[in-house]
């Protein structure tokens, strides 16, 4: 009975992993990079590499931009103020379906040149939970399915691990490759188990309203009401009054909001329906001092300046939800934890990759020439080394594409994304057409692209690693360069080992042929 159950779990673990492993690797890889999405933005948007300024301009200094939004009949206008991870100030407004967005130097108020990239926050982070498939939220559903599968994989993995305690610390690097892969898979799986479970479960909780809409429908009249309530935006539910009315002093309202927060500064300023009698002026503060995502919002009437609302204290259920969201989204200020998330995220990627490779090594001799095996082999290379290579190509294209380039009706930011998808697709084709040396070839390409990205950053911006390491405000760039260099080194090591193995195999084959 027990053996039968364990065998069923083994089957489930194997096939859930093989079928959804590609999606899981993409989600975990992009999630791991998203830990440093703002830092990736610094690397990809050189114009925003600004030294910190002790004093920023007053909010009223941005009144011309607000007037511009009012003239364009914008639905909203907002400012995201600089912080520890984002030195530039962001101005945004929306007219119709068009977003107008400007990065601004907070010290001088000078508009920074358009970077022509989506960067980490615009491409990598949304890819993590949508796979950039927006059609009917299909991407979110696929990610949700993969997340549920991940929980199943975690549980079934523990059940089928025959000696979970006896082999808790077992890693035998000098054994055959199949054994080493299984040891690594077990090591990353068991020792990182709390991380895999917490992150996967909290991810499902964050997108809970998408996956379990029945709860929202039961409580709220419409999804809009839920959205307002969940994001402390209830002050926006107001009957529109189109009578023209100027927006009150932003600085005076900000001073009142700061007084309510005991001196804390707002991070975002929002004006909804600017220039109308029913406009709303809101200040958002996120407490970075703890894990719980405690977002406090103070809202005023934009036309009269009257205080309308302040976020109520969180109920215990919402506190639990916000703890899980905070644990996943890492909006808090804790560099050691941020790096720990990054390393553990890479551990999750290693676990998925070694699971895939172990599946192949176990079947290579008997099923190496079958269609199914070849299919999974190509899928694995594209999913593992392929997406890493595509990400690096995204970075390299960011440094190589000229500013304001347009091609086939696509702007620079879209072209970077096209480079990503083209390289990713090419790696799948490479795996299916030339499976023999796919790992060797793609590892070598990763080493070249990673080192090339660092070199190109140096050549195109003048920010070489020595300079970025010695200037505190350039540390995000230095960190990215260091990670790229370490990645290049590891990929080079893997390439050399694989090349040695290929050489040994071909030597042995020649000897066998000679003896024959």
């Amino acid at each position: 009975m027990e053996q039968g159950f364990r065998r069923s779990m083994e089957w489930l673990h194997t096939w859930a992993g093989v079928v959804l492993g590609s999606v899981l690797f993409a989600v975990f890889w992009m999630g791991t990079l998203s830990v440093f999405d703002n830092e990736i933005d610094r690397w990809m948007k050189p114009a925003t590499r600004l030294p910190p300024s002790p004093q920023t301009l007053s909010l009223e200094a941005f009144r011309p931009s607000l007037d511009e939004a009012i003239a364009a009949k914008a639905a909203f206008w907002n400012i995201i103020l600089p912080n520890d991870r984002q030195p530039e100030l962001q101005l945004r407004y929306k007219t119709g379906k068009t977003f107008v967005s400007h990065d601004v130097d907070p010290k001088s108020g000078r508009m920074l040149p358009d970077s022509g990239t989506l960067g980490g926050t615009g491409f990598i982070f949304p890819f993590h939970y949508t796979l950039q498939i927006e059609l009917r939220d299909m991407g979110e559903w696929v990610v949700g399915l993969a997340a549920m599968a991940m929980l199943v994989l975690c549980v079934s993995g523990v059940i089928i691990h025959r000696k979970i305690f006896a082999e808790f610390f077992t890693f035998r690097p000098h054994k055959k490759s199949r054994r080493v892969l299984l040891d690594l898979h077990n090591l990353c799986g068991v020792l990182g188990l709390p991380f895999h479970v917490f992150l996967t479960f909290s991810g499902l909780v964050i997108l809970g309203a998408t996956y379990f809409p029945a709860g929202v429908h039961a409580v709220y009249a419409n999804p809009r009401a839920y959205f307002f309530d969940a994001n402390n935006l209830s002050f926006l539910a107001v009957k529109p009054d189109r009578t023209a009315a100027p927006v009150v002093s932003l600085d005076e309202a900000a001073t009142r909001a700061r007084a309510m927060w005991g001196g804390d500064v707002p991070q975002t300023v929002l004006v909804a329906n600017p220039g109308k009698a029913s406009s709303r002026l809101a200040f958002f503060r996120v407490n970075e001092g703890h894990v719980v995502m405690d977002r406090d919002v103070v809202a005023f009437s934009g036309a009269t300046g009257a205080l309308l609302s302040r976020s109520p204290p969180l109920s215990p259920v919402m506190q639990a939800q916000r703890f899980l969201s905070g644990l996943h989204l890492i909006q808090f200020h804790h560099w050691v934890l941020r790096w720990m998330y990054f390393v553990l995220g890479l551990g999750s990627c290693a676990m998925i990759a070694t699971g895939f490779l172990f599946w192949q090594e176990s079947r290579r001799k008997k099923q190496g020439n079958t269609f199914g095996f070849r299919l999974v082999e190509g899928l694995t290379s594209g999913s593992v080394t392929g997406i890493i290579l595509a990400t690096l190509a995204f970075f390299v294209s960011n440094r190589l594409l000229p500013a304001n380039v347009h091609w086939l009706g696509q702007g620079r930011a879209a072209l970077e994304v096209w480079v990503f998808y083209t390289v990713w697709l090419a790696t799948f084709v490479h795996g299916w057409v030339w499976p023999r040396h796919v790992w060797l070839g793609q590892s070598a390409a990763i080493a070249v692209f990673a080192a090339g990205a660092v070199l190109l950053n140096w050549v195109t911006t003048g920010d070489h690693p020595l300079r970025t390491l010695t200037h505190r405000y350039l540390w995000p760039v230095a960190g990215m360069d260091m990670v790229l260099l370490v990645g290049a080194g590891l990929a080079l090591l893997a390439t050399l080992r694989l090349a040695r193995r290929v050489g040994a195999h071909s030597g042995a084959s020649q000897r066998v042929e000679g003896a024959g």
């Binding site: 808790f168 610390f169 890693f171 690097p173 090591l187 020792l191 991380f195 551990g347």
Partner: protein, 119 residues
């Protein structure tokens, strides 16, 4: 100061997991140390468990409940992984600790050891 504190947490957890690993025959053999008597195995595991628990208490005290717990979970994973990698690539690094565990006067020994105990 914070760096020193986090390093101390990591070192204590590494030590705790190294002790746990070195109560297992395969890892003791890898470090070239003699096997442990059963009562010493129990005592060592209790000490290691106390160290792991103590780090949780200290991290939650110094960092607060949320950060402290997350830090502890992350450090536990990384420290255990580091022990496994050291045992895989360079077990000799843990040999002194493995040998110390069998000494009658080691911190992991009972107050009254029978003669010859500890191999």
């Amino acid at each position: 100061m914070a760096v020193l504190l986090y390093s101390a947490f990591a070192v204590v957890l590494f030590l705790a997991f190294a002790l746990l690993a070195l109560t297992q025959f395969a890892h003791r053999r890898a470090t070239g140390a003699a096997d442990l008597p059963p009562e010493r195995v129990g005592q060592t595991r209790a000490v290691a468990g106390l160290l792991v628990g103590a780090v949780l208490c200290v991290t939650t005290y110094t960092e607060g409940g949320g950060f402290g717990f997350l830090l502890w979970v992350g450090l536990v994973s990384l420290a255990a992984c580091a022990v496994a990698l050291v045992l895989g690539w360079c077990p000799a690094l843990l040999a002194p600790l493995a040998r110390m565990m069998v000494l009658p006067a080691s911190p992991f020994s009972a107050r009254h050891q029978p003669p010859g105990a500890g191999g």
